[in-house]
Every structure is written in C-alpha cells, then in structure tokens.
Symmetry: C2
Subunit: 264 residues, 2 copies
C-alpha cells in the first residue's frame, strides 16, 4: 500500500490519481490538494506518530511528491522518535534542503518503509529516449548537446550542474544555485555580438548520485518559454530522469515556438 | 631587441615605457597610442613584409600587447607570406579569436622570432603570491576560493572557465563566453533568499594550456566594482598569471570597498 506525502503543486494529485487505493498524507502547514484519497494527518514534529499511523493503515511504500518548504519546527511538539532525530535534523538544516530531504528519506527507510519516486509511481512523468516535440535537431545541435553534457559530466563530481547551454560549441551558461529559469534569462542577456547568430541547446539532467526519489529535475512550459526567449534551437533532457511538468502544455509550447524537445 | 605589436588600450604604452629602446609596431586600423618609441608600420595582410622590416630593425622578440579586433582583410593586399598562410587564417577565423591569435604567434615563431608576454616584459603587471589589498580573508573565504578553484580545474580540460564565484560553499556563477563583468552582474541579480546572507569569493585564473603570451586574464577597477556590487567578500587571482590593470586604482578600489584581493 502506497501513501503520498503531499507537498505543494499538482504533483501529489497526479500520483494519487495514478495509484488507486493509496493514502494522502497531509502535513500541517503545507497547502496540499487532495483529489479524494483517504487522509492521514501529520506534523513534521511527530514523525514517530506518523510512522505508527502509516503502519496501522497498512502503508509499506511512501512517495514524497511536490515541493515542501523548510518547516519552522515547534520544539515543544516533538515526539520521542523525532526528538531522537533532532541532532541529525539540526545538522541537515545547516547543510541545506537536499541534506534535509535525504535525512527524511533515510529516516523512513530506517523505519522499514520503501521510498519511491513520483516518476516510479507515474512513469509518464519522465520521457523515454527519443523525440518529444518540435523540429528534428540538426547535427550541430546534437554536437552542442554533447558538449553541454561533457560540461555537466565534468561538474558532477563537485555536486554541481543540472543544466548548461551551448551554442555552436560556445558555452553560454552553466546552471548554478539560481536554477534553470535564471540560467535562461542570463543566456537571453548575452551580447548578440558574442553569439554571432548561434542559437544553441539547453541540456538538463540530474547530477550523478542525485536521489531522484525526492529531487527530480524538471522542465515545463516556463522552461520552453525561457529557452525560446533566449533564442535557443531546442532542449535535450535525460531520459527517465527529468520530469516534464504539464506535459501536454510543454510539448505544445515547444511545437508553437519551433523548438525541438528530445530525451537523450 | 624587442618590438611591441600594439593593440588598443594602455598596455602597449606600459610595455614600451618599461623596455628602453624597443620598437612600436603600428598595425593599420588599430587605434594604438605610442608613447614615443620608433615606429614600424604594418598591415595584417602583409605579414611577410612586417617580418622583413622587423629583421632589418634588429628585432628578435615580439610582444603582442593590447586588444586587437578581428581584422577585415583585403584579399588584394596580401603579400606572398600572408597568402601562403591564408588557408590557416581562414580555418582559425572560423575557430575563433583564440585560434587566430595562436596562429599569429605560431607564424612569428616559424619566422624565427621569440614571442614574449606583456607580463614577461613587465613583471609588475601580474601579482606575486600573497595579500594585495583589503582585509584578511576569513577561513570560510579561503574554503570558498578552494571550491571555486576545484570548479575551474574540473572545467579546464573543456577549455572553459576563467572565473567562478562561490559563497559559503554554494556556487553562484561560472564564467562563460560573456566574461567576468557579466558573471558579476549575474551574481548580483541572485535572489538574496538563495544566498542566505553569504558574501562569497571571485576566483580568476587562466585555463590550463592558455597561452598567457597573447591571452592573459585580467582584473581591474571595474572587476572590483562589480565584485562589490555583487556583495562579495573578496577576489583571489592566480599569481603570475592574471594581469592587474591600473594596479594602483584596483588596489585602492578594493581597500575602499572593504574587499580582499589576494594572489594564491
């Protein structure tokens, strides 16, 4: 039996609808939308209680779906299991959101639950290798995608680089902490004289070792709009490992903008 | 005997003044300022003629100093030596400015001239290892510089990355084709919520294999102003391999802005 620990956005609902008979875990303070599954109420301060409730409900697998902001914890409300976890939580909060998510996953695994990614429950969230939308990429576009992938591969060991833009061999941008939309805005601001008319390709893929169960890179209509505004020829994503948010709208936007979208 | 092949800006004059009794090569179409050295007139189309004139003048060493824009060549004006070079020039022009400069250096070396970098003629253009200006960097700043250097080292084999900014371990930006000033503007636009108050360090250094004789990375007062506007704590440059333009003004700007400037 699956339970979806619901964050914000459309994703929890997508997972719930794809999996008949699953539970919806509503975390206090998280504005999640339940499409009609039976609910379990949870507080981040009472993870021990949550595990008990999940076991009582027959849950064996958890799916953390949707964005969840770093919670403001109430120390008075901690149950014993969460209290025992407190030093690890404090260390993880200092180390960043990724560390906190990894800790939560590890905690649930230690408690005997399996943790599945949204893309494992709903395989349509990611792409099979091949063409997705728009014109066929030119040979030069594929060479640009190769160079962008080489750049990301070089940065992977440094836990850096989910996306890069290359145009006719010139690197126009590498994603850093600000994210993909910011990267595309930055590429759009590039002096046209430096680009010499080159369009370019956005490559997006997970970092090596990234836990796709809780941190799946994503593209969506906004990514296509940003790539079009930056004058790119297309977008290449890693198959099976990059979520396409609002797939129909994303593919339609790529077609409308004349951008290719491929998984490779 | 040295001759300075003069590009734009202050650098040719600096080199000429540092080296008594050298020649100043004025290339047609390049607005170079001669502080008073004897001149040799040159055209890019007549490199064979230039070599003859240099030999007649007793020149054995050349220094290409200052920026030179990609020339618009007049095919009718080519002398035999330049004509013989034409296929290599055409290939280099397609491959970019760096390739063109490397070709010009190789041509002069094939003609028997030594080619020296401006920083070899004027060692004060670059920095010895150590403190240059501003407060002492904190331990965290040095750790940020280490991470930025690791990022640049990872990108070096891809002929990419002269500069990066890291703040408390988070990479805020990696220089791509747009250059260091653009990188700093991009860092300045980062959402403060992502930075969480972290300041950060700009590291600038040459790429491995970069020919410093014709392509020396540089910082100057504008770099300090950009780093200050981006909220950085300081700047670390590679000793002996990054030119400090207008050194006095650069160091004064760092002091005034409370930014450290170190070579390491």
């Amino acid at each position: 039996m699956l339970a979806v620990i619901a964050g914000e956005g459309d994703l929890p609902g997508l997972v719930v609808r794809a999996q008949s008979g699953c539970w919806f875990v509503r975390v206090e303070g998280v504005p999640a939308v339940n499409p009609g599954a039976p609910e379990i109420a949870a507080r981040f301060e009472r993870l021990g209680q949550l595990c008990d409730d999940l076991r009582t409900a027959g849950v064996t697998t958890l799916c953390l779906a949707g964005a969840m902001r770093r919670p403001a914890l109430d120390p008075m409300a901690l149950d014993p299991a969460t209290m025992a976890l407190a030093p690890r939580i404090a260390a993880a909060m200092r180390a960043g959101d990724d560390a906190l998510l990894r800790l939560v996953v590890r905690f649930f695994e230690e408690q005997g639950f399996a943790v599945a990614g949204a893309h494992e429950v709903v395989p349509d969230l990611v792409a099979a290798p091949g063409w997705l939308a728009g014109p066929d990429p030119a040979a030069g576009d594929l060479a640009d995608a190769d160079r962008a992938e080489a750049i990301l591969a070089a940065l992977g060991p440094l836990d850096l680089g989910q996306a890069a833009v290359v145009a006719e061999g010139l690197c126009l941008g590498i994603e850093t902490v600000q994210g993909t939309d910011f990267l595309l805005q930055t590429v759009a601001r590039t002096d046209p004289a430096l680009r010499r008319g080159a369009r370019g390709v956005l490559v997006k893929r997970p970092k090596p070792g990234q836990d796709l169960r809780v941190d799946l890179p994503a593209i969506g209509p906004a990514t296509v709009a940003g790539a079009a505004a930056a004058g790119l020829a297309g977008i290449a994503i890693a198959p099976g490992a990059v979520m396409i948010l609002d797939r129909e709208a994303t593919l339609a936007a790529a077609e409308a903008a004349g951008l290719f979208l491929i998984a490779r």
